[in-house]
Symmetry: C2
Subunit: 399 residues, 2 copies
C-alpha cells in the first residue's frame, strides 16, 4: 500500500455541511482521527489577527498530544469574537463526545471568509455522521473538503527507512491565495506512522516549514488562519523513533521533503498561476538581506506580470532589487534567467539573450539568479506569475 493515501492508525471522513451556503452539497467538513492520542506539533500564522481555531489549536497542541483534527472550508471563523471561540469549542466538544475522548485532544481548523459566524446548527448536526463515516480509505475526501479556491486536492505520500523498519508520511494541504512567507500555507495536516516525541517533532516541523511553506509566496498576504499540524505515532504499537542519530535525521529529512512537496503543489495551484519561478539571491551580505531581496523581487507586481507574459524584462528585477533596502553595487552584479546570462558585472551581455531568455520563461518553471558579489549569504523564494485570472478570482471571490 506504499503509494496509497492510507496510513495505519489514522482514519478520515468528510461530509457536506452547507458551511458557506445552506443549499450547497459540496464536501466542506472533514475529520482526521488517530486511533489513539498521537504525538503532535503545529506551526501557525504570524498574523496578529489570529482566528479562533488558530488560538485553540496553538493552546491544545502545547500538550504534545492530539487525537483528531476537525476542518471546515467556507468560513474562516476569524475575527469572530467570543462567539467564534465558543463555536469552535462547541464543535470540537461534540467531536470529542462522539469519539469518547477529551475535548482538549481535538483541534479545529477553518478556512474561508473572515468575519462571519459559523452556521452552527448545520455543522453540529453533521458531527455524528462525520464520526460514524471515519474510514482509513477516505483521505482524499477529507483533502477535497478543505479546498476553497483550490482547483485540486493536494496530497503527498513519502516513504523512508529507519534502522527498525520502514516509515511513512502522508499529508494534505489547501491554499491557493493569501499565501505569503512567514507561515505561508493555509491549512496542512501531516501524518506519520512513527512515534516521535513532541519536542523533536516540533523542532523538525519548524525546520521543515522554514524551508518549504515559508519560502513560497503567491500574493504577499499572510492569512489569519494558516496552520500546519503534524500527528505522529497514532497507535500503541506504532514504531518509535529512537535516539539513533541517523534515524532522527532520516525522519527530519522525510518530513521536510513532504512539506516541500505540498508547498510546491500550493504554488502550482496558486490563484491564476501559470508559472513557478525560483528567485535565488546569492553573494548577499547576510541571509536576512538575501531573503528580503528575494522576497521583494518575488512579490513585485511588475516582475510577476512580466513572468506571466514570459517577458525577460530584467530591468524590473534589478529595479525591485534596488528598492529592497539591501546595499549592493549595481555595477558588480550577475543576473541569469534560467541558464541564460543576462547581466555580467553590471553590464548587459551583448549576445542575443532576449530570445533565449524568453524561451526559458515560456516553460512552466524557471529560475532567476542574482549574484550580488557582496558576501557569502544566499536565499531562495518560490513564487508564481500574476495573471488576469488572479484578479478575476479575487475581485469576485467571497469565501
Amino acid at each position: 500500500m506504499d503509494e496509497t493515501l492510507e496510513l495505519r492508525g489514522f482514519s478520515f471522513a468528510a461530509v457536506p455541511a452547507g458551511v458557506k451556503r445552506a443549499d450547497a452539497d459540496r464536501l466542506d467538513f472533514a475529520l482526521i482521527a488517530a486511533d489513539c492520542p498521537a504525538a503532535a506539533a503545529c506551526v501557525t500564522t504570524t498574523n496578529l489577527v489570529a482566528a479562533a481555531p488558530v488560538v485553540i489549536t496553538r493552546n491544545r497542541i502545547r500538550s504534545g498530544l492530539c487525537r483528531a483534527v476537525l476542518v471546515n472550508s467556507g468560513n474562516a471563523n476569524a475575527y469572530s469574537g467570543e462567539q467564534g471561540m465558543n463555536d469552535a469549542l462547541a464543535l470540537t466538544a461534540a467531536v470529542a463526545a462522539e469519539l469518547h475522548t477529551d475535548p482538549e485532544l481535538v483541534v479545529p481548523m477553518s478556512t474561508g471568509v473572515i468575519g462571519h459566524a459559523l452556521p452552527m446548527d448545520r455543522m453540529l448536526g453533521r458531527i455524528p455522521e462525520l464520526v460514524k463515516k471515519l474510514s482509513p480509505v477516505s483521505f482524499t475526501d477529507a483533502a477535497r473538503a478543505i479546498m476553497t479556491t483550490d482547483t485540486r486536492p493536494k496530497t503527498v505520500v513519502r516513504s523512508g527507512e529507519l534502522s527498525s523498519g520502514p516509515m511513512r508520511i502522508i499529508g494534505m494541504a489547501k491554499g491557493a491565495g493569501m499565501i505569503a512567507p512567514n507561515m505561508a500555507t493555509m491549512l496542512v495536516v501531516i501524518l506519520t506512522d512513527v512515534k516521535v516525541e513532541p519536542a523533536y517533532l516540533k523542532e523538525c516541523l519548524v525546520n521543515a516549514a522554514e524551508k518549504s511553506f515559508n519560502k513560497i509566496t503567491i500574493d504577499g498576504d499572510t492569512s489569519t488562519n494558516d496552520t500546519v499540524v503534524v500527528l505522529s505515532g497514532p497507535r500503541p504499537d506504532s514504531p518509535v523513533l529512537g535516539t539513533n542519530a541517523e534515524d532522527r535525521a532520516a525522519f527530519a529529512s522525510l518530513l521536510s521533503a513532504a512539506c516541500m512537496d505540498l508547498a510546491i503543489q500550493i504554488l502550482r495551484d496558486g490563484e491564476g498561476a501559470t508559472k513557478l519561478a525560483r528567485i535565488r539571491v546569492t553573494g548577499a551580505p547576510d541571509s536576512a538581506a538575501a531573503s528580503r531581496m528575494a522576497r521583494t523581487i518575488a512579490e513585485s507586481p511588475l516582475v510577476k506580470t512580466a513572468f506571466h507574459g514570459a517577458d525577460p524584462n530584467w530591468g524590473r528585477i534589478i529595479a525591485a532589487a534596488g528598492r529592497s533596502g539591501v546595499v549592493f553595487d549595481p555595477a558588480a552584479v550577475d543576473l541569469f534567467i534560467g541558464d541564460v546570462p543576462i547581466v555580467k558585472q553590471g553590464t548587459l551581455v551583448s549576445d542575443d539573450w532576449e530570445t533565449a531568455a524568453h524561451k526559458v520563461m515560456l516553460k512552466g518553471e524557471f529560475s532567476i539568479a542574482l549574484d550580488l558579489k557582496v558576501g557569502e549569504a544566499e536565499a531562495e523564494i518560490l513564487t508564481t506569475d500574476l495573471s488576469e485570472e488572479y484578479v478575476t478570482i479575487n475581485a469576485d471571490y467571497r469565501s
Copy 2:
C-alpha cells in the same frame, strides 16, 4: 491667461525622436526652458539603482540653478552603465550649446524600458529642432511627449496671491505604473513665476512631495527614475518671494496643492485603475506605524482586487492590518467604509452594512478608515484598485 498652460519666462517644445522605435512618429522628446537660469530644487528616487539622468540631475541641481529640463520617454537610460552616463551628458551638452548656456544648467530626465542604450543618433539629430521650436504655448505638447502607458497628459495650473501681487504655478507629470511611496511619481516638472531662494524652494518641495507623491501607491514598485524638478523665477524681472511669513506660507501651500493635484491625476490614470481609495489609519501608536499599516492595506493584492469588485470584504482589510507588524487589539478597533460603520469595538455591526458598503465602493472614489484606539497618530495613503487590465498592460508592456 490665468487658466492657460503658459507661464511668463518659460517655453516648451516636443518632437518625435523615435526613442523607442525608429519608425514611430509620436512625440517622445521634450524640452522645458527658462528664459534665464532659474532657482531650482529636486527630489528623486530612493531606489539604490538610480538611473543615469537621476544621478546627473541630483548633482547639477545642487547648485540651486537650472536653465532647462530635457525629457524623453521610451527609454529610461537606467542600468545603462558608463555609456548611459556619457549619453545623458552628451544630450544635455548639445542642448546647452544650442541655448548658449552652461551644460551644468541643463538636466536630463528619462522614462521607459530599463537596460537599453539610447538611440543617440536619432536623439542628437533632433536637438537643434527641439530648441528652435521652443514656444510659450507648447506646454501640452511637452506634457504629451513624456507619457508612456499614461492614457492622458497630466497638468496643473494654480494661482495665488503674494503681498506684492499674484503668483502662479504650472506643472506636468507622467506616471501610471511603478508607482509607490518614497518618491512616488515618475517624472514631474513644476514651474513658478516667483523667484524663491533654492534652500526654501527645496524645503517646500520636500514637504509637498511627502504629503502628495509619497502618499500614493499603485503597485508598490518604486522606479529607478522618479524625479520631481521645480524651477522658479525664470526672468530677471520675476517677482521675488520675500521674507514675509504669510507670503512664504502661501507659496508653500500653493506648491503642495499643485503637487497633490498631480499626484491624484497619476493615481486616477494608474495602470488599469478604475477606483481611488483613501486608506486612513487613526489611533496608531506613532505615525510610522500608522503609515506602515496604511501602506500594507493599500498594497495588499487581496484588498485591491476586492476594491475592484466593489466587494466590502472587510476581513481582508483586517487581515492586512494584522500582518503589518503594528501591535493593536483586534477587539478594540473601529472600521468604516466611506461613512458606513462595519466594525465597532472589534464587533461586526449587526445592521445591513453590506449593501450600503457595496454602494459606497461602486463609486470612483471612497475611503477606508481604521481606528486602532492605541494612540493619537494617524496616516493616510491613497491607492487604486487592482484590475485585470493592470496585468494585461504589464504582461505585454515593454517600454
